[in-house]
Structure formats: structure tokens, C-alpha cells
């Protein structure tokens, strides 16, 4: 028995959607959404803004339309066929229930594949067309200009007018020693194509970041005498943190001790018995806390203070000597200046290993991403070129705050590890087309989970119920931020009594539920390819792999296994319409039962057990161990032992 029965089921899904015109409606809807609507969407006028909006809008539309349709179709294709008894006909043929389930999934997904390729192709076509249009417009603008005017404009825009030797960068000369001018046709095309090139360099590209490694130094510029030369001093971050801790630790400990004593006094401990020192646990906690604070503080640069960061060239990237990459720089003014014109000077330098080759001063405004082009290698004075990456593939970037105010350069990420958005080195990892395909690949992975979710719901609920449940999950995923907040704050109540937030029975259920939901949905949501695509960031193969590994390997597999087990265990001849009360699957009943026990356990632990004056551990054992074990034992006895006796009778 091969895959023929499975493919027959998959093919049937196609037939149904073509006969019911679902497929054609989807094609038209997608064509309208991705081809038609963008024409009337407003952009900010710039080519970049236009492209970003176009990509964001169209891909979001594709995901939304296809996601909803996938849920609908997959829930319907199973639930409807069960309710209309058609699945009975299939189930009495030599095909396992899991094959039916998988066949439906393959059918829906193969259709999604075609639809996604179609819609994605249209979007790609529109983006390419608009990018090319920029050059055509450019040519149109300069078509009446004379050669000199064009050369002047091109010169102003930084387009080379003189042929130069690519190795040394020196201008080429003819036999009489005159510089050789670049052909006017080339110059014209370059000038006209400036906008498009900018777009292709920043957005229509796949740039990945060169990873920052954990070798950071705090730097300080100083003068030994007034108007004398500037010297610099650098300290490894760890040393700097230790120094800072030595300075602040005693103060913090004194504060904590003071608070501890006050707390004891308030709770009425005899003055003679008050503990006058912190215990070791409190000390360790205080040390860890202050270390985190200081690490965070290391991102703040006072005047003349600086940082040196190291990056390691990834193995997959083997740039040519003449290639370029880009530094992305972002900082915040610690005291927010609302005047947009405020510019802050920085001194930048970089070089291979820990060396320093180039240094320059630039002015930037705060809270904006700035991009500085960087060469992979530079011509050296002795001839030849110096690679900016040393033999260990390392490059250093350093910068000093050049004046005005304290600034924060967030080089740490939200978890306190190096690699924050403050300083990033970006290199061209792939072309836009490849990146775009990978992004579509991730969208496809999402659709796979949607299809699995729909089929899962359809396995044990009527079409109406499963469509409703799926819609609910979509909405919850949409307001994930709110759900997350509930999980974090530990209550959904926003009312207060005596300065404390109220809690209620609802919380016992909803808080863990929301935590589970966040745990389930958030990782899937994190694989968002659209944002990366609009920033010209590469959706790497690794990310694509992890997306599938997580989204399909975990969410998809769990839904698939549960769905087909439910389908296998249910009695197909019983439908909600025939009075079976919906699902007749024992596994879905067990799941429901387990969920109810979970709620009972939580309520027990929170509201009932505390009245028994038991120690904490005893309450935990009763609630989280004894009650579930008792329930499971009861169910096993009921299902496997009693039923076995019944059958053998």
C-alpha cells in the first residue's frame, strides 16, 4: 500500500475547490489584493518608502487572505465530509485515517503552494516593474540635457567621470597624460539609475549581519595637557564592570540592609533580635542584580567615552577585495531632544583584528538608523591592499562620543547579550529574488500550520464550531500583546483594593491559559519574514530551516498527530446532526476532561488548599501531583480495564 490512496484524497481536495470555484475565487481575490489595491495605496513619495509599503502590504494581504482561506477550507473539508457522511465511504476503503488526514493536508497545501507562487509572482513582478520604472523615469528626466550638464549632475552625485584602475584607485591616463573620460552613455545610465541602485542596495537585497563577538572594550579619550594630543585608554568590558561594581556595591548593600532592618521593625520584631546583616543569598542576589544594571549602563557613553566592538566574518561570506559592506548605527540621546536638528558628533574608527586603520568624525541625529558604507579592503601605502578582516576573520569597530551629551548606543540585545541593534555590520548575503523566495517559504510554513489547525479542529468539531474556534485563535494571535500582558502581570483584573491589584477565580484559569497560548503562538509569530524583507535583511537558510523545524516539526506535528488520532478514534457514523453530541472521539473527551481537571487543580491550589493551613510543599504535592495522578488512574481504570472486561464478556 503506497501513497496512492493518500494522493487520491489530496487530489479530491483540488477537485472540490475547482468545482466549487474556490480556487478561481482565490486567484481573483489575490490578484486584486496584490495587483490592484497597491495602485491606490498611498506611499511617502520616496522609492524606498513605496517599495516597503508595497512589500509589507501585499505580503500581509497574501498571508491574511490565504491564512483565513486555509483555515476555512481545511476545517470544512474534514468537518463537512464527516457531517455529510462522505468520509464514511472513504474510511471503508483500504486507507488509514491518518492517511486521510494527511491527504487532506497535502491537498490543501499543494493548492496553497500554487496560489502562493502565483500571488508571490505577481508581487515580485510589480516590485521589479516599479524598480525599473525608476530608471526609465530618470532617463526621461535627463533626456533633454546636454552632455556637459549630465556630466555636471553626475559629478555632483558622486559618479566617477574618469576611468580609474580598480586595484590602485588611480586615474587612468592616455598617452598624452590626459585623464580618460568615462563614456557619456554609461554616465547617463548611471545617473538615471541612481534611484534604482539605491533601492537595490538598501531594500531589494538580502543583507545579513556579521555577528558581534563577546570581546568588548570600554574606551576613554583623554588629554595629558591642555591642547595636547588626544590619547586613548581601553579596558575590557569585564574589567570595567568589576571596577564599577567595586565602586557601587557597598552603597547598594548598605541600602538593602537599611531596607531589611526597616522591614523587620515594621513587622514588630524585638529591637534586640533584629538581624543586622544581609545573608549570603541576599548578597548573591544583590551582586547579580547590580551586575546586570552595570552591564546595561555600559551602553551609555559620556563625553569622550567610547566602545570598541569586535565582529567575526561568517563562514558563508567570502567577499571580493573590492566589495563593500555597511555599518548600521543607531543611538539614543539619554535626555530626549525634541529638536530634530540636533546632531551629535562621533569619532569612528575601524581596522582588522584589534588594529585601527581608518578614523573619521561624523555627525548624526539620534533615534535614526544610519548606514555607513565600509570597504572590505583598502589600498595600502606600500601598494597592495589591506584586508579589514584579519586572519582570524575579525574586525574591530570603535567610536567615541564626540561631545554635547551622554548617549546610549544599545549594543546589547534585550537579554543583555552582545548583538543589539546599536551597531550592526551588514553584508550582501543574497539577491532579492532568493530572499523573497525564502520569505514566501516561511509564509508557506505558516499556512501549513493553519491547515493543520483547521483539520485538527475539523477532526472533532462540526464545521461551524471549528471555523469559530479557528477564528478565535487567529484573533488571539492578533492581540498577542494583550495576552502576553495578562500572562506577565498575573491578572486580567484592572481594579485595585488597598493599593493591591484584585485577583479572582477567572485569573486562575485565564492567566495560565494565556501563558500557554503565548508559549505556543509567540515563537511562530517571531518568524516574521515580512519585516525583514522590507528592511532588505536576509531571511537566512538557517532561519528558514528553523522556521520549518519549529513551525512544522513542533506545532504542525502536534496538531497532525492529535488530529489523526482523534479522527482514528472517533466513530464516523456518529455526527452532531445524528445526535452524537458532536465528537464521539474518546481522545477529544479525554483532552477536555484533562483540561477541566487542570482548572480544578488551579482553583484548588489557589483558593481551597490555603485554608487547610498546610505547608507550601504539601499543598503543591496535593494539587499538582496527587489530584492529576488520581484522575489519570481513574481514567485508565475506566477506559482500559473496565472496557476490556466489557469486551471480553
Amino acid at each position: 500500500m503506497g501513497f496512492k490512496p493518500l494522493l487520491a484524497v489530496a487530489f479530491l481536495t483540488w477537485k472540490a475547490s475547482i468545482r466549487y470555484r474556490f480556487f478561481w475565487v482565490m486567484l481573483c481575490l489575490l490578484l486584486f489584493a496584490v495587483g490592484g489595491l497597491p495602485l491606490i495605496v498611498k506611499d511617502d513619495g520616496s522609492a524606498e518608502g513605496m517599495t516597503q509599503i508595497l512589500i509589507t502590504y501585499t505580503l500581509s494581504m497574501i498571508t491574511a487572505i490565504m491564512g483565513a482561506a486555509t483555515l476555512w477550507i481545511s476545517a470544512g473539508s474534514l468537518a463537512n465530509e464527516i457531517e455529510n457522511h462522505q468520509l464514511q465511504m472513504v474510511a471503508t476503503k483500504p486507507i488509514s485515517r491518518w492517511q486521510i488526514w494527511l491527504g487532506k493536508w497535502v491537498g490543501v497545501m499543494s493548492m496553497n503552494f500554487v496560489l502562493l507562487l502565483f500571488a508571490g509572482g505577481v508581487v515580485y513582478g510589480v516590485v521589479e516593474y516599479r524598480a525599473n520604472q525608476l530608471t526609465r523615469d530618470g532617463l526621461n528626466r535627463i533626456k533633454d540635457l546636454t552632455e556637459n550638464e549630465i556630466r555636471q549632475l553626475a559629478y555632483n552625485s558622486g559618479i566617477a567621470q574618469v576611468e580609474s584602475d580598480p586595484k590602485t584607485g588611480r586615474p587612468k591616463e592616455d598617452k598624452e597624460g590626459n585623464p580618460i573620460l568615462v563614456d557619456i552613455g554609461l554616465v547617463r545610465n548611471k545617473l538615471a539609475g541612481l534611484e534604482e541602485k539605491k533601492l537595490r542596495d538598501k531594500i531589494l537585497i538580502a543583507r545579513a549581519s556579521i555577528p558581534m563577538i563577546n570581546s568588548v572594550e570600554r574606551r576613554q579619550l583623554y588629554q595629558t595637557q591642555t591642547n595636547g594630543p588626544l590619547s586613548s585608554r581601553s579596558v575590557p568590558l569585564e574589567t570595567w564592570v568589576e571596577q564599577m561594581m567595586k565602586r557601587y556595591m557597598p552603597k547598594r548593600e548598605a541600602q538593602l540592609l537599611q531596607m531589611k532592618i526597616e522591614a523587620q521593625q515594621e513587622s514588630g520584631v524585638n529591637p534586640g533580635e533584629i538581624i543586622q546583616e544581609l545573608d549570603s543569598y541576599e548578597k548573591v542576589a544583590a551582586t547579580n542584580q547590580i551586575r546586570q544594571e552595570i552591564l546595561g549602563y555600559s551602553q551609555i557613553l559620556g563625553v569622550a567615552e567610547g566602545l570598541s566592538l569586535q565582529f567575526k566574518k561568517p563562514r558563508g561570506w567570502n567577499p571580493d577585495e573590492l566589495d563593500e559592506f555597511a555599518m548600521r548605527f543607531y543611538f539614543e540621546d539619554t535626555q530626549v531632544a525634541y529638536n530634530d536638528d540636533d546632531l551629535y558628533p562621533f569619532v569612528f574608527g575601524f581596522g582588522p583584528g584589534k588594529g585601527q586603520v581608518v578614523q573619521d568624525t561624523v555627525q548624526f541625529d539620534a533615534r535614526t538608523f544610519h548606514e555607513i558604507p565600509m570597504p572590505v579592503s583598502l589600498p595600502s601605502n606600500e601598494g597592495g591592499r589591506i584586508n579589514m578582516f584579519d586572519t582570524n576573520s575579525l574586525i574591530s569597530i570603535f567610536f567615541y562620543n564626540g561631545g554635547r551629551a551622554s548617549l546610549k548606543v544599545p549594543y546589547l540585545d534585550s537579554r543583555g547579550r552582545v548583538g543589539g541593534k546599536g551597531v550592526e555590520l551588514l553584508y550582501k548575503e543574497a539577491g532579492f529574488a532568493v530572499n523573497y523566495l525564502r520569505a514566501l517559504g516561511i509564509v508557506f510554513a505558516w499556512l501549513g500550520v493553519f491547515a493543520a489547525l483547521g483539520l485538527f479542529a475539523g477532526s472533532f468539531m462540526s464545521f461551524g464550531m471549528s471555523a469559530f474556534a479557528c477564528l478565535g485563535i487567529l484573533v488571539i494571535a492578533g492581540v498577542l500583546g494583550l495576552v502576553e500582558e495578562v500572562g506577565e502581570e498575573g491578572t486580567i483584573m484592572q481594579t485595585y483594593t488597598d493599593g493591591k491589584r484584585d485577583t479572582s477565580v477567572i485569573d486562575t484559569v485565564l492567566v495560565p491559559a494565556s501563558k500557554i497560548l503565548v508559549w505556543l503562538i509567540k515563537p511562530i509569530k517571531e518568524y516574521s519574514p515580512i519585516e525583514k524583507l522590507t528592511e532588505g535583511r536576509s531571511v537566512t537558510w538557517k532561519e528558514l530551516f528553523y522556521a520549518y523545524a519549529y513551525i512544522w516539526g513542533l506545532a504542525g506535528a502536534v496538531l497532525g498527530v492529535l488530529g489523526s488520532v482523534i479522527l482514528s478514534s472517533r466513530q464516523l457514523a456518529i455526527t452532531s446532526e445524528s445526535g452524537g453530541g458532536g465528537s464521539d472521539s474518546w481522545i477529544s473527551k479525554e483532552l477536555l476532561g484533562f483540561l477541566m481537571v487542570l482548572i480544578i487543580v488551579l482553583a484548588l491550589r489557589t483558593y481551597f488548599l490555603p485554608h487547610l493551613m498546610l505547608p507550601e510543599w504539601a499543598m503543591n504535592v496535593v494539587a499538582y501531583f496527587l489530584v492529576p495522578i488520581a484522575y489519570i488512574a481513574y481514567r485508565i481504570r475506566r477506559r482500559f480495564i473496565l472496557d476490556a472486561i466489557n469486551i471480553s464478556k
Binding site: 466549487y20 464514511q88 483500504p94 466489557n646
Partner: protein, 405 residues
């Protein structure tokens, strides 16, 4: 009568002699959502179906026939008891390869046309595409849907849906065919064709389980039957056992002169009480009359509905090719009866016996009204006397049937 399929069935299938289906103390209780028992659909049902026989499940509506069939197919889980098909559990996937199933109603995909329907179900049996095509064509020919294969099943009349349902049940050339009310919604020709088909399947050594509340169906084709009422088996045995009145004999002969008749009666009177002897002219039964009328009409007329099916699909046929076309199915099959076992012969003969003994409506109402009293002895008792029909009534019924489909 040795068929390779049957020997195969024996070697890997049922463990006990010829039992293809074994049902022991089967009980099915339907529960509501909370698991509270709602209805006991079948209660302590036991029977077995032997290789090569036509087995009938007989009973009024709601007596548990379909529930039994659904348990046999794994569409319902038994609450208690044991079910074995070919020696395996009803949920065994491989066993399904040898089973064909026609459900009580058309549960087909309404958006597929008949050719696509057969193609789909053939695909589920992993038939290769050429075989699928061949079988589809032959089956459509057989059930008389060849001319309408491009119309979707949703547009079909009920009878046509039954026909395509029957075709899909046979696409895998099954060893065990389970037919749930196969004649429901069929015109009399269709009914007859189905019965002929069942006999043909039997001739090929296949096993057939047939459920019906139409007594004529069961009587015409079944070797053995169970009679259900209220979820319980009321009677179980061969049709012979169930039907034969051992203490009565019927003679049929050409019409006699009055004197000759008197003479015969006198002779009979010497051996039996005069009040127990009955004499009447045999009347053609309605089915036979109807078939004759339609057979004549069919030669000239065309229809947009289902045509009356033609010969049995080639891949389903018994070893010897049968000359057909002009002959009716009945004749063709009657020819083959010669080879059949004795029980079958008796069965066939009853078709040609003048009086069909069937008044379905009456019997139905009877079996519903006082089921416990349904016993083989009483069955023929009820039929005496009221076979004669008003000729007008017959005409009405005929024209209704002909116009109806």
C-alpha cells in the same frame, strides 16, 4: 465451483471453517455527550456469515440492521462483544481491500461525475490508472450510467445515485459485498438487476451481506438471514428453514378440464381433509409483469435518466463468458443456475412459482406491529387469499412507476 479468490480467503482469512464474518454477543449503546446511555441500538446479536453465501439482515426500520453493518465496517465501535471480518478487527485497514460497501443512502461526493467518482474510489484501492479506467467503464456500463457519466452525482436522481453507489462498491472486485438497503429508491428493473447481480456475485463465490426491510429482496436472493426487531435477533437460519411449510405441498399443472380436476381433487381428498385443499389459477406476480412490459418498451424508447443496466462488468463476471444482449438478465442467470447448489435452486424455483407470496406492505406492518410473533410458520399464512389485485390498480401503479423515473 472452485474460485481462486475463495481459497485465498480461506488461507489468510477466517479461522473457523468458512466463516467470513463472525459476530458474537454484539451490543451497541449510543450515548450522549456526557456518556449517558441514550439508546440501545443492538443487543446481544450473534451470527456468522459463511464464505460464498448471500446473507440477509431483515427487519423493520430502526431495528439495528444499519448499526450492525456500520460496526462490521468499523464506522461504529461496539460497546460490547466481538466482531471479526476475515479474521480481523473491523478497523483493520488491509481487510478493507476485500470489502465493498453500499451505504443506505448516497454518501457520494456531489461535485464529482460518475466517472470521477469511480476514479476516486479506485484510487483509494491503489488501482493503477489503466485498471481503474477499464473497471470504471465496465461498471458504468453495467449499472446503466454510461450515457450520463459527465453529469455530477449531485444532479442524479435517487435511483441513479444508488446505481453509482453500487458501482463504487464493486470497483475492487470485493470478496465480501455489504449492501445496505440496495434496492431503496430503485425502479423495479433496477431492483431486479441488483438481485441478479447478487446472484452473479454468489455464483463467483463471493459473499454478500444484504440488509433490507423489503421481504421480497431477501426472499429472492438470500441463503440465510437474521430477522431483527428492536435490536435483537428474533430469527436466524437458512431461508428454507425459515419459510418452508413442512406440512403443506403445492402442485402446479396445466389447466384441466372440469372432470379431470374433479378427479384429481377426489384423489387428493382421499389423503387429506377436504377443507385443507385449495385450488386457484396462478397469477403472474407484479414484478414479472412489470419487467415484461418494460422489456418491450425498452427496445424502442430512449431516456435521459438511467438506462436499464446491461451485462455485468467483465472483470466481475464468472469464468465463462455469457452470451447476452437480447436475453434478459434473468434468463442469462437462470442458465447458470444449473451449476448452483441445491439451496439456490429451491430459491430460484420460488421465482417461477406462480404466486410470489409477497405483500410487502402488509408484512412490514405486521413485523412492526407484533414482531415477536414473526415466525416462519406465520409468514405464508398471511399471504393466502389477498394476492389478487384489481387490474386498474395494477395499471395505475405501473404507469406511476414508469413515469416516475
Amino acid at each position: 465451483m472452485e474460485f481462486p479468490e475463495v481459497t485465498e480467503a480461506n488461507s489468510e482469512g477466517a479461522t473457523h471453517s468458512d466463516d467470513i464474518v463472525v459476530v458474537r454477543s454484539l451490543e451497541k449503546v449510543f450515548c450522549d455527550f456526557w456518556g449517558r446511555p441514550k439508546a440501545k441500538a443492538i443487543n446481544d446479536v450473534s451470527f456468522e456469515v459463511r464464505k460464498g453465501e448471500v446473507f440477509g439482515l431483515l427487519g423493520p426500520n430502526g431495528s439495528g440492521k444499519s448499526t450492525t453493518i456500520k460496526v462490521l465496517l468499523g464506522l461504529l465501535n461496539p460497546t460490547r462483544g466481538m466482531v471479526r471480518i476475515f479474521g480481523h478487527s473491523p478497523r483493520d485497514v488491509k481487510t478493507k481491500q476485500r470489502i465493498g460497501y453500499l451505504p443506505e443512502e448516497s454518501y457520494l461526493y456531489r461535485y464529482l461525475n460518475s466517472a470521477e467518482t469511480l476514479d476516486f474510489f479506485g484510487g483509494l484501492f491503489a488501482l493503477d490508472s489503466e485498471e481503474k479506467k477499464l473497471r470504471s467503464e465496465q461498471l458504468l456500463e453495467m449499472v446503466g450510467l454510461k450515457g450520463v457519466q459527465m453529469r455530477t452525482v449531485g444532479e442524479f436522481s435517487k435511483g441513479m445515485q444508488r446505481r453509482i453507489g453500487l458501482a463504487q462498491a464493486l470497483i475492487n472486485d470485493p470478496d465480501l459485498v455489504i449492501l445496505d438497503e440496495p434496492t431503496a429508491g430503485m425502479d423495479p428493473i433496477g431492483c431486479r438487476e441488483i438481485k441478479d447481480l447478487i446472484k452473479n456475485l454468489k455464483a463467483r463465490g463471493k459473499t454478500v451481506i444484504l440488509s433490507s426491510h423489503l421481504l421480497a429482496d431477501v426472499e429472492d436472493v438470500c441463503d440465510r438471514a437474521v430477522i431483527y426487531y428492536g435490536g435483537k435477533v428474533q430469527q436466524y437460519g437458512t431461508l428454507d428453514e425459515l419459510l418452508t411449510e413442512r406440512d403443506t405441498v403445492q402442485f402446479t399443472m396445466p389447466a384441466l378440464s372440469e372432470a379431470a380436476q374433479k378427479e384429481v381433487l377426489e384423489a387428493m381428498g382421499r389423503h387429506a381433509d377436504k377443507d385443507d385443499i385449495r385450488v386457484d389459477n396462478p397469477s403472474q406476480n407484479l414484478e414479472t409483469l412489470f419487467l415484461n412490459v418494460v422489456e418491450k418498451a425498452r427496445a424502442s424508447d430512449e431516456t435521459s435518466g438511467a438506462t436499464s443496466g446491461s451485462e455485468v462488468a467483465e472483470f466481475l463476471r464468472a469464468d465463462q463468458p455469457v452470451p447476452t444482449q437480447a436475453e434478459t438478465m434473468l434468463n442469462r442467470l437462470a442458465d447458470k443456475e444449473v451449476e448452483k447448489p441445491k439451496a439456490q435452486m429451491a430459491d430460484e424455483q420460488s421465482v417461477s412459482v406462480p404466486e410470489s407470496k409477497v405483500d410487502e406492505a402488509k408484512l412490514d406492518s405486521l413485523s412492526e406491529a407484533k414482531p415477536d410473533s414473526v415466525s416462519p410458520k406465520e409468514l405464508p399464512e398471511e399471504k393466502k387469499g389477498d394476492v389478487k389485485k384489481n387490474l386498474d390498480e395494477v395499471d395505475d401503479k405501473l404507469s406511476g412507476l414508469l413515469g416516475g423515473d
